[in-house]
Symmetry: C2
């Protein structure tokens, strides 16, 4: 089964959580808008469809005739097909719940540089961004990371749900990567408080398929158009 | 099967999307923190658990020994059990995808009054809130509502996925209710652009179980501690 992934071709963004799952699974996929120039315009047209299952926003995944949007829903779909989620319904729902909490965290990361709105540039909301980022570093990073730290420490294994890797672990790897990129000063101090999460990050990073992906040009470098952005004024 | 719903007892908030599904289904449930005074402290303790499936935040639902958090995941769970979602896997995933987009919208509604952060009061971020709310009314309300309007108009039925009611329709009812409460002036002008969504709202409102719920004291009135808040400065 070949998948077509539709996402912005120049950023990691939310698409990266899907890319990591596809790469770990060794799945056959095309990152459409990276492969061909017309990809973005095809993607926009698909989102304008009046019937079928058009997505509100990228990423979305085409699998045969099925089109699935929303990062967490895509991972729910891929998880069962590629052994990246437990087999039991309750187990699958738990991993999905974790992914939804990661999605909330990602939204809050985005809002550190866009607290007023997505239709304005960062440069037009710098003051509010500085305030929001301060609150984010002080309150939200410890709250979210502390939650996952506690779960990993109590999981009875080295992954967030126990001894088996799931797509939520891949996403937690990306969270640590992204926070390190966006808030290097803060993370340097903060990481000692989340040893299990950092260990999980390292374990994911060392997996053969992930290591190969990270070393390839399929992995787009972090940049200031994505979700995790490095602005000196927002780090401390 | 009796369910225990854990959520803040004084607001509709995100819990309301679950309450509406339970009420439409005629499910046997206890709104724990509304039923007894110790409910909130039990809820907080459950969230601090080191094992099991503790939620990052309310709402969460207890069904037998299973505890499920994240509004959209709870609805995914309830949807298949109570005929509030299609039977096919693809259909269920589509309704879930819509619910996740509704969840994104709800987060943006929240951020109109809390653009800088949840640890501060609205009164401490009024200036930023005014800017964010203006952007929200101008850009985000038409974008989200327009998406759902288009889907309902193209669904081949009177609900968002067609001829059968799903939990996503119940949530869309709540979206219209909430926007009317929070932004009455804006909605008065805007509603003519979303006739199918308004008609869907009215259809849900008239369903016997929903009508009975709305008339009961189980329905908490909107207020300025919830997600949809009415602040004159944010409406226009």
């Amino acid at each position: 089964m070949r998948y077509d992934l539709y996402y912005w071709p120049t950023i990691q963004g939310r698409g990266e959580f899907v890319r990591l799952a596809l790469e770990e699974a060794g799945a056959d996929y095309v990152d459409v808008a990276r492969r061909n120039k017309a990809g973005v315009s095809t993607m926009m047209k698909m989102m304008q469809a009046r019937t079928g299952t058009p997505s509100f926003a990228p990423p979305f995944l085409k699998s045969g005739s099925q089109v699935i949007g929303q990062t967490a829903a895509i991972l729910l779909f891929l998880g069962s097909r590629h052994g990246l989620a437990p087999k039991s319904e309750a187990g699958r729902l738990w991993v999905h719940q974790l992914q939804l909490t990661i999605a909330d965290f990602v939204q809050e990361v985005h809002d550190t540089h866009h607290p007023i709105g997505t239709s304005l540039y960062y440069e037009d909301q710098k003051g509010a961004a500085k305030q929001r980022a301060a609150e984010f570093r002080k309150e939200r990073v410890p709250k979210y990371c502390g939650y996952f730290e506690r779960l990993i420490a109590g999981s009875g294994g080295t992954f967030v749900t126990g001894r088996k890797l799931t797509y939520a672990d891949l996403s937690l790897f990306q969270i640590v990567e992204g926070l390190r990129y966006a808030f290097p000063k803060h993370m340097k101090k903060f990481e000692r408080e989340i040893p299990s999460l950092v260990a999980l990050h390292d374990r994911v990073e060392a997996r053969p398929n992930i290591a190969a992906y990270l070393a390839s040009d399929r992995r787009i470098p972090f940049n200031e158009d994505g979700i995790f952005r490095h602005y000196k004024a927002l780090d401390k």
